[in-house]
């Protein structure tokens, strides 16, 4: 702002010159509005009026002072000219007044002349004073203007200074904030750092955006932001890595919790047995469960997720959550590598090793699940958690499966199963799909079953080697109770097997049961085996249980078939009749107990599948029994054949006898003992079958002997003797006491009887050719046999002496014996 040039140099000291100078001055912009000329003349008039009373000569100060403002005003209003005009006007007026006065009176004029000169000199003085004043006024005004100008300049500087200070302060604030941000980053206060960065960028830096340093700071903000981001990610991963050491603790705590819950459920089931059919982790069990267990915040573990939350928050703020999600998943995946080792040794020494692996894995996955459920939706999708779990569990199964193959110790297997079971039940609680582990459990179950079965096989073979295939004899009630219970033997069975009614419960010992010790041994072992199988399933879930139940059934079936039945069948090859008979009885007893075993299999099932099953072994044992029957049949037939080999009929004898041949006598004695002892315990149906078979075979053998008798040599005595033998056999057969009567046994000799009758009749062909007689008496004789008999009859020698049926003659058999006795001189009774 320019200071106006208020005064021009006072070149003209007189009033007359004033207007010239005054006119040159420029009016000041801020001058007050021009006073109307009337005012000035008015003032002057007033002034004149006021001075009228004053002596012209006495040009007082007072007047001057009053004039000054007018002059001033004139100067101001640049009307100095006008003023001068006025003043001139006034002067002229005064002159006219003077003239008038003069005209009016010379005297006055004369008088006034000096006065007038006085006034004139006064006016000159006044003019000089006015000029002086004007000069002084000019002087003082110039100073004022200068000072005023300086003041204004100073004010501007000051304003500038203020602005500068303000700016510097802003800069300082920015710098301070920047430093603080760095400090915060250093102090790992990531979010605070990020916030101050944000403040910096959005507020503070804008104020000082013109400065280079501010631009630099501004440029560094994204780097700092990413630094914070990286830092926080690194910190989070560091934190996550540090959690590695907590996995086992998380796993262990979760396992303990599962164990506690299981115990609670067992207690619950104990209080309310109806619940027994519901498994742990079943909806029913869950409804009973009350647990406020936090897998990462409990008595033994405390994991704060704060670092993760912060990291998430930061990424969310930065709108870079996607990046972090990806990184996080990658990190978790990379972390997986060491969770499950590729090789685990399952020797007894490192069972803890498996436990460690399981704890570690469980901890890892449970933490993953917990993170997933306790963070923003979409950060850690459950599907990622599940994917990771599946790949981990597959790896685990691979590792364990490889080792399972080499497990040779049942205890190790049981331990492994228990650990895996606990593991499965725990993981199920965290909604992990345990189907992989379940499959492995099935595998281990099979292995376990194989152990049990091979153990049974071993025991069974030892047992059967030691078994003498004799009936079991029990000497005390306690043992009797145990054994009969083991093989489901009731007094009714006892009676069915030929025991006297009430004998089973009469308390008299020793008692003999029809089966050999191998039966109760097997039954007890199988019952135990079934129990062991099911006990192994304790921790299994329902879907696995169903499969294993079927497996148990198959295992028991194959055990009965392949181990017991086949072994017994193999032992049937023996030629010892006692053994064969005992094996048959044992086979039948096994047949009897198999439904009970099947029932045990069903009863023991943990599931609800309780419908009746039929074991394949049932049929197999039936077949085996049939085989044993035929073995006995073979044996009896063989025995008969052995005796028949000793036959030496003398068909040309002329001596008739009423005594049966000694070989038949021996056979009858032998068979009587055999039937009454060895075969005594056989069920009626089998006895009937064996006896019938034996006598049928005997009868046809005897008939063959007759039919093979040398033609032309046969004497009637020989036929008579032969007939005595047949009668002896017929009689023997009728004495055999079979419960169902002997009718069927007697029929075995009908054909030979008819043949003999036909042979001994006088008119053989006549009788046979008479259809009625033939139908009545010889219906069993085959035509070709009848023809042979007719041939035989035609060549038969008639008795040389009438001694038939004399009864005094010795049978022609036993010649060796007689010969021998004669030689050794033995005395006959």
């Amino acid at each position: 702002m320019k200071i106006p040039n208020v005064s021009t140099p006072p070149a003209v000291p007189s009033l007359t010159t004033k207007p010239l100078t005054v006119t040159k001055t420029k009016p000041k912009a801020k001058e007050e509005p021009q006073e109307p000329p009337q005012d000035m003349s008015l003032h002057l008039q007033q002034l004149m009026l006021s001075t009228d009373n004053v002596q012209n000569n006495s040009f007082s100060e007072d007047f001057l002072e009053q004039l000054v403002p007018i002059v001033k005003d004139a100067i101001k209003t640049k009307r100095t000219g006008e003023l001068l005009d006025r003043l001139d006007g006034i002067t002229r007026l005064q002159d006219r007044k003077l003239e008038q006065l003069c005209e009016g009176g010379q005297g006055d004029y004369l008088v006034s002349m000096p006065k007038l000169s006085q006034i004139r000199s006064g006016a000159d003085r006044q003019r000089g004073a006015l000029q002086d004043l004007n000069f002084r006024l000019q002087q003082s005004g110039g100073q004022l203007v200068t000072r005023k100008k300086r003041l204004l300049e100073a004010r501007t500087v000051r304003e500038n200074l203020d602005t500068a200070i303000e700016t510097v302060e802003s800069c300082l604030q920015v710098l301070e904030l920047t430093n603080k941000t760095h400090d915060l980053i250093k102090a790992k206060k990531h979010f605070a750092a990020l916030k101050s960065l944000d403040d910096l960028q959005n507020v503070h830096l804008k104020e000082v955006s013109d400065y280079g340093f501010a631009r630099m700071i501004n440029d560094s903000v994204p780097q700092l932001t990413s630094l914070v981001q990286e830092d926080v990610v690194n910190d989070t991963f560091k934190w996550l890595s540090s959690l590695r050491s907590v996995y086992p603790a998380i796993g262990q705590a979760a396992f303990q919790e599962t164990e506690r819950l299981r115990q609670e459920w067992r207690d619950e089931v104990h209080r309310n047995p109806e619940l027994a059919r519901y498994k742990f982790n079943s909806p029913i069990e869950l409804s009973y469960r009350s647990s406020s267990f936090d897998p990462i915040d409990n008595h033994s573990v405390l994991v704060e997720l704060d670092p993760l939350y912060e990291c998430l928050h930061i990424h969310h703020t930065l709108r870079k959550t996607d990046v972090f999600i990806k990184k996080f998943d990658e990190f978790r995946r990379s972390h997986v590598q060491n969770i499950v080792p590729t090789v685990a040794s399952m020797s007894s020494a490192s069972e803890d090793g498996v436990a460690e692996i399981l704890q570690n894995l469980a901890g890892f996955c449970i933490l993953d699940r917990t993170i997933s459920s306790r963070t923003t939706k979409g950060f850690r999708p459950q599907s990622d958690v599940d994917d990771l779990w599946i790949s981990l569990s597959q790896k685990l199964m691979g590792t364990l499966g490889h080792e399972l193959a080499s497990v040779q110790d049942q205890a190790v297997l049981v331990n492994l199963k228990a650990q895996l079971g606990l593991f499965v039940q725990t993981m199920e609680q965290y909604r992990f799909d345990t189907v992989n582990v379940g499959d492995f459990l099935l595998l281990s179950f099979r292995k376990f079953s194989q152990f049990l079965i091979s153990g049974f096989d071993k025991d069974f073979n030892t047992g059967i080697m030691e078994d003498d295939t004799n009936k079991i004899t029990i000497h005390d009630a306690d043992r009797y109770e145990k054994i009969t219970r083991a093989c489901w033997w009731t007094p009714a069975d006892d009676e069915a097997a030929g025991g006297k009614p009430g004998a089973a419960t009469d308390g008299v010992f020793p008692k003999t049961l029809p089966f050999s010790p191998i039966l109760p041994l097997c039954c007890a072992k199988i019952t135990h085996l079934i129990h062991q199988h099911y006990a192994f399933l304790d921790e299994f879930n329902v879907s696995e249980v169903t499969q294993t139940e079927d497996y148990v059934q198959q295992a028991m079936d194959s055990l009965l078939n392949d181990i017991i039945c086949d072994t017994l069948l193999h032992r049937l090859m023996t030629t010892t009749r006692e053994q064969i008979v005992q094996i048959l009885i044992d086979l039948q007893q096994f047949e009897r107990v198999i439904p009970f075993i099947a029932q045990s299999i069903v009863d023991g099932r943990p599931s609800q599948r309780k419908s009746k099953i039929t074991l394949k072994a049932q049929k197999k044992f039936q077949q085996a029994s049939a085989k044993a029957e035929s073995r006995i049949f073979e044996h009896v037939t063989q025995t008969v054949d052995n005796f028949m080999e000793l036959e030496d009929y003398d068909w040309s004898t002329t001596v008739s006898s009423d005594e049966p041949s000694s070989y038949l006598d021996e056979m009858v004695n032998f068979l009587t003992i055999f039937f009454n002892s060895t075969l005594a315990d056989l069920p009626f149906a089998i006895k009937n079958y064996v006896y019938f078979g034996a006598f049928d075979h005997l009868a046809s053998s005897l008939l063959q002997i007759l039919l093979n008798a040398p033609r032309g040599l046969i004497t009637t005595e020989a036929v008579h003797n032969y007939n005595v033998d047949i009668q002896y056999m017929e009689q023997f057969v009728t004495t055999l006491h079979l419960d169902g009567g002997n009718a069927s046994l007697s029929t075995t000799f009908i054909e030979i009887r008819q043949c003999l009758d036909l042979l001994m009749t006088n008119e053989l062909s006549k009788e046979y050719n008479n259809p009625q007689i033939r139908m009545r008496r010889y219906d069993r004789i085959k035509p070709e046999v009848a023809q042979q008999l007719m041939d035989m009859s035609q060549t038969m020698k008639q008795p040389q002496s009438p001694q038939i049926g004399g009864g005094t003659q010795q049978k022609p058999t036993s010649r060796f014996m007689r010969m021998y006795r004669n030689a050794s001189g033995a005395h006959e009774p």
Binding site: E645, L646, D650, S662, S677, N708, A709, M819, Y820, A823
Partner: protein, 203 residues
């Protein structure tokens, strides 16, 4: 079957006696079927097996009766003494009681068997050396006392089993041959001829 079709020349009936468990059935099983079973199977009552052997030029059919050693079957078993031409008295070299009981068995033979019956004393299970309690000398001494042959055998390892049976069978055959020779006056034996005219004693 006619005489001409017969597959043997001589039938000899032998009897095995001795305590339960000394291995009579095993001896028989080894002799007739060349088998061995370690299981102890109590013979019930009486059993027999047949084997045909050649002695010299004769086919000899041996019918060997195996008796139950248990006391409860004594009635049944003694009935078979009479029919026996030869008796094998069997004991177990690892069981002193069975050896001591041979005296009783010998008494039974004296009471029930034919006078001329051929005997032999057999010490079975001679393979079980570490369990042996009856020495060969003791066995021999006892046999000498009775004036009968003695053999130690093992059905398990098949030692002397054949010899036991052959020993008795051979002696019986010789006796029969001698009698036949005396009766018929000829050196050969033709058993197939029959002996209708021989003594009329009943068995």
């Amino acid at each position: 079957m006619s005489h001409s079709q017969r597959t043997y020349d001589l039938l000899i009936k032998l009897l095995l006696i001795g305590d339960s468990g000394v291995g009579k059935s095993c001896l028989l099983l080894r002799f007739c079927e060349d088998q061995f079973t370690p299981s102890f199977i109590t013979t019930i009552g009486i059993d027999f097996k047949i084997r045909t052997i050649d002695i010299g030029n004769q086919r000899v059919k041996l019918q060997v009766w195996d008796t139950a050693g248990q006391e409860r079957f004594r009635t049944i078993t003694t009935a078979y003494y009479r029919g026996a031409m030869g008796i094998l008295l069997v004991y177990d070299v690892t069981d002193e009681k069975s050896f001591n009981n041979i005296e009783n068995w010998y008494q039974n033979v004296q009471s029930y068997a034919n006078e001329g019956v051929e005997l032999i004393l057999v010490g079975n299970k001679c393979d079980l050396d570490e369990k042996r309690v009856v020495s060969t000398e003791q066995g021999q001494a006892l046999a000498d006392k009775f004036g009968i042959p003695f053999l130690e055998a093992s059905s398990k390892t098949n030692i002397n089993v054949e010899e036991c049976f052959y020993s008795v069978a051979t002696r019986i055959r010789d006796t029969v041959a001698k009698t036949k020779g005396n009766e018929s006056g000829s050196g050969g034996i033709n058993i197939a001829e029959g002996e209708e005219n021989s003594a009329s004693k009943c068995c």
